[in-house]
Symmetry: C2
Subunit: 199 residues, 2 copies
DNA sequence: CAAATGACAAAAAATGAATATTGTTTTTAT
DNA sequence: ATAAAAACAATATTCATTTTTTGTCATTTG
């Protein structure tokens, strides 16, 4: 029995996300999602080629909405100093992940699972984030806040790698300890010193 | 049937490691290890309180022998420059882990599993490694190669965290890509710049 | 015609009884 | 008295069976 509305990809993703939050990524079946939409499960295969593709689409949208977009807002904000902006950007990335692992555990588990498969979606997401870092690095170079001779895209990846312990889902268990903030503080001082160093 | 020799902890660890390499950490039972020693499995419980403790003891010894000791040899070597020594130390740590994941997959899997439980053994191992970094940082400060105002132990942990992507077992799948060396190269440049920076 | 359904086969997951393993206690041997 | 072996519950693992889930497709509906 079809709904009164046409069945869009977005509507399927909305339902999938809702069911996923309720049952968790392991216990959610395609039939469960179809039931929530009051359609037969076969219908979903007209919109997504496989359950895997559907899971990835849900994760991709979540990464875009919950991670990439809030971070890009920081870049728009035009901070006085590039180092301050980068500091805020990294702290925000870390806080988004930490908060998701605590307050949205099912979506976070979904994201962590998709990350393990090292799919193209994750690679693209990382490209997008390191692209944002690159903008801040270049802005800082122009303003004189940063000095570096590496290509900005490689340096951006180095900054992202260096902070992986604080935002990669594999390390989520280590984020609860009280010393995590202090540890990131030390790392930031070191990185800033490397970025701001006069030659 | 007891062996001619007395049953020592070391002999048990030797046998456990051997059996573990053959069957893998998931398929190895206490009975398998006892069989290799030609003793009854109950006997092993006089030496180790549980299978978990035995697994941890095997891992602890492996971490000491295969990771901590080779690295401490680098520190003894007294390189001309502290930055060169730290660079070598980090590259060696990374190479030990990479090589173990490829050439000693069962022990590496064991280590990765123990790491997930975040046991005291791992914390102690990390303390030991960051202690080694601390020595190099302090040596570099004395020689003038490094300049920093953070406490050396915190800075050592920052260096260790910053390089986690290249030595933490959760990231092993990412070590096969050809760009891994280049990526570490970028990160090292950034870290060195931060450590060597004049204020 | 476009879109959804529902029946279907293949693959994957859950079940449960049989088997093996773990960890403790008791017994045996020296 | 000391240390290994044997016996023994409590868990955990296997494995054959049943059930669910996935993905396809011919048919139906609007």
């Amino acid at each position: 029995m079809a709904n009164d509305q046409v069945l869009t990809k977005e509507a399927i993703l909305d339902a999938a996300e809702q069911v996923l939050r309720r049952y968790g990524p392991d216990k959610t079946s395609v039939v469960d999602i179809a039931k929530a939409l009051q359609v037969s499960h076969g219908t979903l295969y007209r919109h997504f080629p496989s359950k895997t593709a559907l899971r990835e689409a849900v994760t991709e949208r979540w990464l875009q909405q919950s991670v990439a977009e809030p971070l890009s807002a920081i870049i728009e904000k035009q901070h006085s100093d590039a180092d301050e902006a980068l500091h805020m950007w990294l702290k925000t990335l870390i806080e988004i992940k930490r908060s998701a692992s605590l307050n949205d555990p099912e979506m976070f588990a979904m994201y962590a699972a998709v990350t393990l498969d090292a799919t193209a979606i994750i690679a693209e997401h990382i490209d997008s984030l390191t692209g944002q870092i690159e903008v801040l690095l270049e802005r800082g170079k122009v303003s004189g806040a940063f000095r570096y001779d590496q290509p900005a895209d490689r340096l951006a990846r180095a900054v992202f790698s260096a902070t992986a312990k604080f935002h990669h889902p594999a390390h989520a268990a280590e984020w609860t300890g009280e010393s995590a903030d202090e540890e990131f503080g030390s790392l930031w001082k070191l990185l800033l010193s490397g970025l701001a160093s006069s030659k």
